[in-house]
Symmetry: C2
Subunit: 339 residues, 2 copies
């Protein structure tokens, strides 16, 4: 069995209570005693038992990280490691641990979250996605546990704490950038339609078109889970339109490169024949050919700030829901050309 506080107490000739206070660096304990007890702790290789400590404190110093459908998309995309890096940094600075969801289906994830929360496994939660009618989010809203969402909640956003890019305006600006380059036939390849980020970007896309009197045509949009199977066909359809697009906005750099690959197979060249712009500015995008114009959404900062917000709420439960906007910026590289 491991060394306990009692063992240390006995050896040091003090009470367990005193040892506990030395660990907590309680100012009412004499320096002399502290020195003595610390020496014994070190000699014996004592480490506090988290389970016991957490039980009495009724906290875990742990943040739960909930990601969508770990079995599939979430893991394919560099977004996940990067946002996790931000969370990780912040958590480490505050001496918090990270507990990861492992569920593959919505139902599994829901069960996990309930257990994390009710079982007091975590002190707070970062929800890494935002989708419409999400039971997980609804559960968290009703629970007392501090949490923050990466992304804008679909309903009643002001009542929850979240970080977000202004996806509507960012998408709008992006499309306007292409319009400024002379493009009028701009296609939009978006993500799954139940994700708020997809909805927002689609809206920004439409706003930009409207502003410049370009009619919205649903045939110019592809909305589905990419990296799935029918992408190639979608691109073929898009380029086979009576008036094919001269520019394509894709919701992720990786998807952009996938699209570029399909286009090259069709002997359509980027940016000569079609301009392409991505989102997320993955590390690799600057090295690939063509270097991808993209929107950097500060993924690391999204994670960092989300963790910060949860930690804040854990420290002070009275803090009202807060919304933090993280900047995004267009990075011009070589995948778009002026018409």
């Amino acid at each position: 069995m491991a060394i306990t506080i009692k063992d240390v107490a006995k050896k040091a000739g003090v009470s367990p209570a005193t040892v506990s206070r030395v660990i907590a660096d309680n100012p009412r304990i004499s320096v002399k005693t502290k020195v003595k007890v610390r020496k014994v702790m070190e000699d014996m290789g004592y480490y506090p038992n988290f389970q016991a400590r957490n039980l009495v404190a009724n906290k875990s110093r742990t943040l739960g990280i909930i990601m969508e459908n770990s079995a599939a998309l979430a893991f394919q995309n560099p977004f996940f490691p990067e946002v996790l890096r931000g969370i990780s940094t912040q958590a480490h600075d505050s001496k918090y641990g990270l507990y990861l969801s492992t569920g593959a289906t919505q139902e599994e994830i829901y069960q996990e979250v309930v257990e994390m929360v009710q079982g007091r496994r975590v002190d707070g939660i970062v929800l890494l996605y935002s989708k419409i009618d999400d039971p997980v989010l609804e559960f968290l809203r009703k629970s007392e546990l501090p949490f923050a969402v990466v992304g804008r909640p679909h309903q009643d956003p002001c009542s929850v704490t979240y970080v977000n890019n202004d996806n509507i305006n960012t998408a709008k600006d992006t499309v306007e950038y292409l319009i400024g380059l002379g493009h009028r036939h701009i296609a939009f390849v978006g993500g799954a339609t139940d994700f708020v980020v997809s909805i927002d970007r689609m809206q920004g896309y439409q706003q930009a078109l409207a502003k410049h009197d370009i009619p919205f045509d649903v045939n110019y949009t592809v909305n589905q889970d990419f990296i799935q199977g029918k992408e190639r066909d979608s691109i073929r359809r898009l380029m086979g339109l009576p008036v094919p697009p001269t520019a394509i906005v894709t919701h992720d750099d990786m998807v952009a490169y996938e699209v570029i690959g399909y286009l090259e197979d069709l002997e359509i060249r980027v940016p000569d024949d079609v301009s392409i712009i991505g989102f997320n500015n993955h590390t690799i995008s600057r090295y690939l050919k063509p270097p991808l114009s993209t929107v950097d959404i500060s993924i690391y900062e999204l994670g960092l700030r989300a963790a910060e917000l949860v930690l804040e709420k854990i420290t002070d439960a009275s803090i009202p829901p807060k919304q933090v906007a993280v900047p995004s910026r267009l990075i011009e590289r070589g995948s778009c050309r002026r018409l």
Copy 2:
């Protein structure tokens, strides 16, 4: 305060001990009582407190995941999410949770691991990397806690449980594939030299050359942390050699594409002028141009099996150290050509 076992007991008119046994589905409790108590638990929304349960059981049903230097490389590379996906699947199936290291430096990570282990925060550990003279590994060896390494330990490998690709032979086969294509001047771009995987692949590279009577020339090797800053120069140097290589083996697909980018900047074309092969078979590699020939190392399975091994050791501590080899296979695509 949350609902406890006592609240349920009172409402159901039984003792807390009985409630506890109902939760554990103890066969000595009558069905009638079980039904009654379960109904009350449901009505009250009772969930067991993990901290308390773990304290008396002296286990946490949690696996610690230790990754190298979370602040930098580990997160840039799709290896991490993919291996995590494997671990996650296995852990979820066994109803284990995942606890992630957050440290950015070797020293921070070491401290975290010690706390995880001594503080009984986790029941087992998966070490996601293997490097030479790693204090973390040495600590784990001395501890009683079950653990598994992804990668071959540098010293005394038979005494630790690990999963690995046969990196030496895989690298050897890869180089021989290029030799079979007629290449004699083959460069090797490897990872950081304190990682065992880099050492092994370099050795395989050398073995292949030796077997075919091609002298090893250190000028044909680049060994450093790529994605750092001097990569472009290294490639320029390589291609400026009196006899430049006709083929380059890189230790990762992302690095391969970075190299391809630098080569294109030098007006050197792949595969026309230089053949390139990668490692790890990232999802995106098949879509990019040129489609990358690469070695698939079954990253998902590495994670899955590592988790499986730890779980096995947790269940039965008497199991001797085990070594599991995970297959790797060469995937021919369009980035290599016959001379």
